[in-house]
């Protein structure tokens, strides 16, 4: 079926910086979804939401052709799930915020939390993966 252009959702804006690894800010206990893809990929998704509107919407969520799902607050989109989106807990997000400012402290905090069983293996591996990505992005700048 051919999708028609729908301008109803053209007011929706690009997601907040807090979802991007190089500009993390405020964690929550739930809803910490992070992009591990480039902003250019998100712009493509946004363009699709603007042009396809209701035809890619189900209730309060949009599912675009990349497989990524977005929701929105007022007129700001935020990532929910899908390829290139990682959901983290607030303790993980907090370590990543710390890593941005004081990498040594982040590594130390992570080690203490792992030894106390506060981080399980999956969480610790996810944080290390994200820290590596942050480092690579920083080194690439």
């Amino acid at each position: 079926m051919k999708k028609t252009k729908d301008k109803k959702w053209e007011h929706l804006r690009f997601p907040s910086d807090r979802h991007f690894l190089n500009s993390l800010s405020k964690p929550k206990m739930s809803g910490n979804s992070l992009f591990v893809i480039e902003k250019e990929d998100v712009r493509v998704d946004l363009k699709e939401i603007h042009s396809m509107g209701d035809s890619v919407r189900d209730g309060g969520q949009f599912t675009v052709s990349s497989g990524r799902i977005y929701s929105f607050h007022d007129d700001i989109l935020y990532p929910v799930s899908g390829p290139g989106i990682v959901n983290v807990t607030s303790k993980e997000y907090n370590i990543l915020v710390q890593f941005r400012k004081h990498p040594e402290n982040a590594a130390k905090s992570l080690a203490i939390m792992e030894s106390g069983g506060i981080f399980d293996q999956t969480e610790a591996a996810r944080v290390r993966y994200l820290m590596n990505l942050m480092k690579m992005k920083k080194d690439g700048d």
Binding site: H19, K28, M29, S30, G31, I76, T89, S109, G117, D120
Partner: protein, 203 residues
């Protein structure tokens, strides 16, 4: 349902790490470790994040080993923090609350014991947290009964609602302590309704 093993708060005042370690050790009944004072074998870890912008200069993350059960919810701890430090405390909305996953919606606890749902200020996003007062809405409160919870909430335009979700359909039995707690909650909510001129049509 996800087992709670972490809580996150934002406070509108800076506090000393030592004070918070004592508070959380008591609230969680666990030994607390910090980056500056790691304690061998402590099952909980406290992380503090200062913010230079926004109205909440202190981010507080407390996480613990999931094998340690905790009875208190993050909302109860937020209320305790707020009362104890006479501070505004922001945290996530309660579990099961609509749009809890929305990254811009929060719950704020105030020293008078009130809880509100509130959104972030979206016009000038900063690193730190800034709330939009025009979006504030009062929220429900829960009272523990002998076999379940009594949920009370106010909808300012309509009135007070009391829900007793007992599956059997039986009456809810209250102890003296629970009855007093229920009465106190109702009086607090009625006082709040007076302030905002709400809940005048139905009782």
């Amino acid at each position: 349902m996800r087992k709670l093993s972490e809580m996150h708060f934002y406070l509108n005042k800076m506090l000393k790490p030592d004070e918070l370690v004592i508070f959380f050790s008591d609230a969680l009944s666990m030994k607390i470790s910090t980056l500056d004072d790691p304690t061998d074998g402590a099952p909980a870890f406290l992380q503090l994040t200062p913010y230079e912008s926004g109205s909440f200069p202190l981010g507080v993350n407390i996480a613990w080993n999931p094998s340690h059960a905790l009875r208190a919810s993050h909302i109860e701890i937020a209320v305790r923090l707020s009362l104890y430090y006479n501070a505004l405390v922001v945290t996530d909305l309660p579990d099961g609350y609509p749009r809890k996953e929305d990254p811009f919606r929060w719950c704020i606890a105030e020293p008078d014991g009130s809880l509100s749902e509130i959104s972030e200020c979206m016009t000038d996003e900063k690193d730190g947290l800034e709330l939009d007062e025009t979006t504030r809405k009062g929220m429900a409160e829960n009272v523990e009964a002998d076999h379940g919870e009594i949920r009370i909430w106010m909808e300012p335009d309509t009135g007070f609602f009391i829900k007793m979700p007992v599956e059997s359909g039986d009456c809810v039995r209250l102890s003296r302590e629970s009855a007093r707690k229920l009465a106190n909650v109702l009086v607090t909510m009625a006082d709040r309704a007076d302030k905002i001129g709400g809940a005048t049509e139905y009782v």
